[in-house]
């Protein structure tokens, strides 16, 4: 091998050496500090909403949550009163409708995209679903108000109210024009559908193909493979996806504000106007005149935050439960 010309060796400077020696401790502290900021942000949300709602808790205590009267403006007939139940009920019901509509459909779409879709369509359809999940909710709300509401009234709400609604009180008329729990729930369902489908598709695609092949080689039909091997394998992730969708529906503000009708009266029918916690906060907080009103709205935000926190915990518990599999598995 050819002789290589010698060149001076490079050694470290002492200044640099001092810098590098303490760099690691400094870097660790720096990243730790910023990581702790994430905890700080959550704590800030908790503290601000908790302190902000001190007034309403002093006035009503926990019964604030199930008080049924919400009346921020003093009139001769009705005294000022703040009960969160109309808003909480509306939030829960509209999300429930969204969940009932979107969970089975979303899972079915996920199964179709991952297992059954012709290969040529798989990529474009998948991209479309992911793009739809990214569209801002105000656009869903806009379409809901301007286009979907009339259609829903003519083809769904009125026919149901005029037939089944005669006997079932919670589907009874009169149908509020373009407003109400049912239509809000439906738009929320359309909105969370891409989220649920995209996550379901992702977790199904992560199932190793040999699990499918083992079932196929036993003479299972495609559906038996999907339902017997693929879906059970991925159920934890599917549950997680549904939970994520539910969380989005619970906290959604704009679509709800535009479509729910913003009425704090509790009416039995799903076709009557109602309100949700998010919609109530968005429409009243900027104009709240008396401190108790403002404090009540912040209390609502605290309740909403609490609900999503609990949902997060439940989702984690379910994922943990379902991922364990049969006893004896080495985890």
């Amino acid at each position: 091998m050819a002789e290589v010309k010698a060149v001076p060796r490079i050694t470290a400077s002492s200044r640099w050496a001092r810098r590098t020696r303490h760099g690691d401790v400094f870097f660790w502290l720096l990243t730790l500090l910023f990581a702790l900021m994430i905890i700080g942000l959550v704590v800030a949300v908790g503290i601000v909403t908790y302190n902000g709602s001190a007034g309403v808790r002093a006035e009503y205590g926990w019964s604030f949550l199930w008080g049924t009267d919400w009346n921020p403006i003093e009139t001769e007939l009705y005294p000022v009163s703040f009960g969160a139940w109309p808003a909480i009920r509306g939030t829960l019901l509209s999300s429930l409708i969204a969940l009932i509509l979107a969970a089975p459909t979303g899972v079915a779409i996920g199964i179709f995209l991952s297992e059954l879709c012709p290969l040529r369509l798989r990529q474009p359809l998948g991209v479309m679903v992911e793009l739809l999940a990214a569209i801002p909710s105000v656009i869903y709300g806009l379409w809901g108000v301007a286009v979907f509401a009339n259609w829903f009234n003519d083809w769904v709400a009125n026919p149901i109210a005029n037939t089944v609604g005669q006997y079932v009180p919670w589907l009874a008329g009169p149908v509020a024009v373009s407003r109400g729990l049912a239509i809000t729930g439906t738009i929320l369902a359309i909105m969370i559908l891409p989220t649920v489908s995209a996550i379901t598709r992702d977790v199904l695609q992560a199932v190793p193909s040999h699990q499918r092949e083992a079932m196929f080689s036993l003479g299972a039909t495609r559906w038996e493979v999907i339902w017997g091997a693929v879906v059970p394998y991925a159920r934890a992730g599917i549950v997680g996806g549904i939970m994520l969708g539910l969380g989005r529906a619970l906290g959604e503000t704009m679509a709800a504000t535009m479509l729910i009708g913003n009425s704090t009266r509790i009416e039995q029918s799903l076709f009557a106007p109602a309100t949700t916690a998010a919609a109530l906060i968005a429409s009243e907080l900027p104009n709240a005149q008396i401190p108790l009103h403002e404090s009540s709205l912040i209390g609502l935000a605290l309740a909403l935050f609490g609900i999503t926190l609990i949902l997060n915990l439940i989702a984690r518990y379910l994922v943990w439960q379902t991922s364990r599999g049969p006893a004896g598995e080495k985890v």
Binding site: F216, S217, G219
Partner: protein, 272 residues
Amino acid sequence: MAVATPPRSATQTAHSMTVRGLKPFYGKRLAVQALDLDVRPNQILALIGPSGCGKSTVLRCLNRMHELIPYAHAEGEVKLDDINIYAPGVDPTLVRRKIGMVFQLPIALRTRNIYENVAVGLRLGGVKNKAELDARVEKALRDANLWDEVKDKLELSGMALSGGQQQRLSIARTIAVEPDVILFDEPCSALDPISTLKIEELLLSLRQRYTIVIVTHNMQQAARISDRTAVFMVEKTDDIPIGVLVEEGPTEQIFSNPKDPRTEDYITGRVG
């Protein structure tokens, strides 16, 4: 009670397969040159050859598993006894029911326990009676030489077993539905020598009741257990590799007195 398959009696005749002009494709690319092959009843046919020669592809064509790979399909004729499994109108699901398959990696269905791992095929076949299920699961596990090791832990997940045990579990699952032919795709390549030995013993005992095709990259294994051997090679035309069936014959003859010089090169270790 719906009974899918009556338990097989020892006297039942075994089944043969005939392959004529089989051409497996990946997309537009032909993977193996059109080949003819006979699988004789109650024998073990070994497919050997260097990696990339298409032996696994051919195996997967024998029960129409090949077409499950995206963009893959096969042309030609594969007969189980006198039925062409590639004839129009034949449901691949039924074909796979009749021609079982055991894979390279031991597969325990992750969300089922050991018992259900074996019972799953029977349930698909419509067996619902608990006593009958129990009996047939036990028989399959006994036939797979696994019963004594797992009889006390049938409720545990299949994932709790060792690799060799999982592979025998896969075999138990396959023979529980009493197929006519069993295909093995390098069943020992992920296992340690002792587990390999157990699987080989198992294969020899299964030969009395089933027709078996096995793909292996281990020539000694082929020599030890198979009755006949088919040797595949890779050839390159215009830089595109294609698998070719070089020679097929009784195992003894292939290993002691190969007709084709390429076979000789391969088994003496000069290529592959």
